[in-house]
């Protein structure tokens, strides 16, 4: 007999051997909590959305005083207004994509929608990084073009006994180092998140995709 026919025959024979769960057992099962990756992605995405929004609110008011010295208050408010509108758009898109995930779709579509949802949040994170980078470049450019005002603002009582040039160099270097460290940490974080949650999904999705093209 053909091997596959043999397998099929055996497969059918197994039908009787599967356990039959009682009404109560099934009742208990459907009241348990799901641990699907969609649920995990939702949790992680919400945490990320909150984290990046909270970062803005956590900056102490005192720190913002420096903006006054450079007449940057209005600039700050305008960028923040634009920023929050964009955050709102991102949250809306995320919610829309998340809601579209449905387990009754074809496997291909389901994977596509999960990846799309996850991508929305990724773009949100990229947007934030780009924004922080851009803002620091702009603010730094303005500040460094008025070095006296900056030294006065950061060190009003002249406590740091250091020449102006040296002070500026240290400030610039420390900012660059901080930026590189943050980017490094983010990369590690995403490797972990992707490693844990999406590696298998991406692999399976690619397999279906290469099949189609």
């Amino acid at each position: 007999m053909d091997e596959l026919e043999l397998l099929k025959k055996d497969w059918k024979k197994q039908d009787a051997s599967y356990p039959k769960l009682s009404y109560n057992e099934i009742y208990k099962l459907i009241h348990k909590k799901s641990s699907s990756i969609v649920k995990w992605i939702l949790i992680i995405c919400i945490v990320e959305l909150l984290f990046w929004s909270a970062l803005n609110l956590l900056i102490p008011e005192k720190y913002l005083e420096i903006y006054d010295k450079f007449n940057l208050r209005t600039f700050l408010y305008v960028t923040q207004a634009i920023h929050y509108s964009i955050v709102f758009i991102f949250i809306y898109l995320f919610y829309k994509n998340y809601k579209a995930i449905s387990v009754i779709e074809t496997t291909n579509k389901l994977m596509q929608k999960i990846i799309k949802t996850r991508k929305t949040v990724n773009y949100y994170v990229y947007y934030n990084i780009a924004l922080y980078f851009l803002l620091s470049v702009v603010v730094n450019a303005i500040m460094f073009s008025h070095p006296e005002t900056m030294i006065e603002a950061l060190d009003p009582n002249n406590e740091i006994k250091m020449s102006g040039d040296k002070f500026l160099t240290i400030m610039l270097i420390s900012q660059i180092v901080a930026f590189i460290v943050v980017i490094g940490l983010l990369l590690v974080y995403y490797r972990i998140i992707y490693g844990i949650l999406l590696k298998r999904l991406s692999k399976n999705y690619k397999e279906l995709e290469t099949l189609e093209f």
């Binding site: 091997e3 596959l4 043999l6 397998l7 099929k8 055996d10 497969w11 024979k13 197994q14 039908d15 009787a16 051997s17 599967y18 356990p19 039959k20 769960l21 009682s22 009404y23 099934i26 009742y27 099962l29 459907i30 348990k32 909590k33 799901s34 641990s35 699907s36 990756i37 969609v38 995990w40 449905s102 387990v103 009754i104 779709e105 074809t106 496997t107 291909n108 579509k109 389901l110 994977m111 999960i114 949650l197 298998r200 999904l201 692999k203 399976n204 397999e207 279906l208 099949l211 189609e212």
Partner: protein
Amino acid sequence: MNKELEHKFISEFQEHQKIIHKVCRIYTNNQEAHNDLFQEITIQLWKAYSKFRGDSKLSTWMYRIGLNTAITLYRKSKRTIKTQDFDTVLHRIKSTEYDNTEEEQLKLMYKAIHQLSDIDKGLIFLYLEDKNYKEISETLGISEVNARVKMNRIKTRLKTILNP
């Protein structure tokens, strides 16, 4: 969700639960993982049930949600429990109908199936369940031609494992 719907679901599910056990049989190889996946599929089915209109059979839904959960949603638990493999335990009914070579062949074949990719497992599962290529392509979201090509590759692979 109301009690009436819950009752209806459980009754219907009870009747077709074999399908879910079979999905777990293909995708897992120990009892703990089997139960874990069974639970997740059942939860996903129940969550989707309120959208079930009855225009298709519940069993059709169960194939789709079962495979979607196994391939996409389910996170394999990190716990590696050293329970005996189904392959060695032989979950199957021992039958006098099989001679030793057939017994051995089947063992090898189930082992080979467990080594297939998640997508290939889905294809072979639907094949074993006598689904035609149209149904297979509609479940996985690939074209019928591709389903056919892929299935032939899996068949050849399984055959070469048995006849090296």
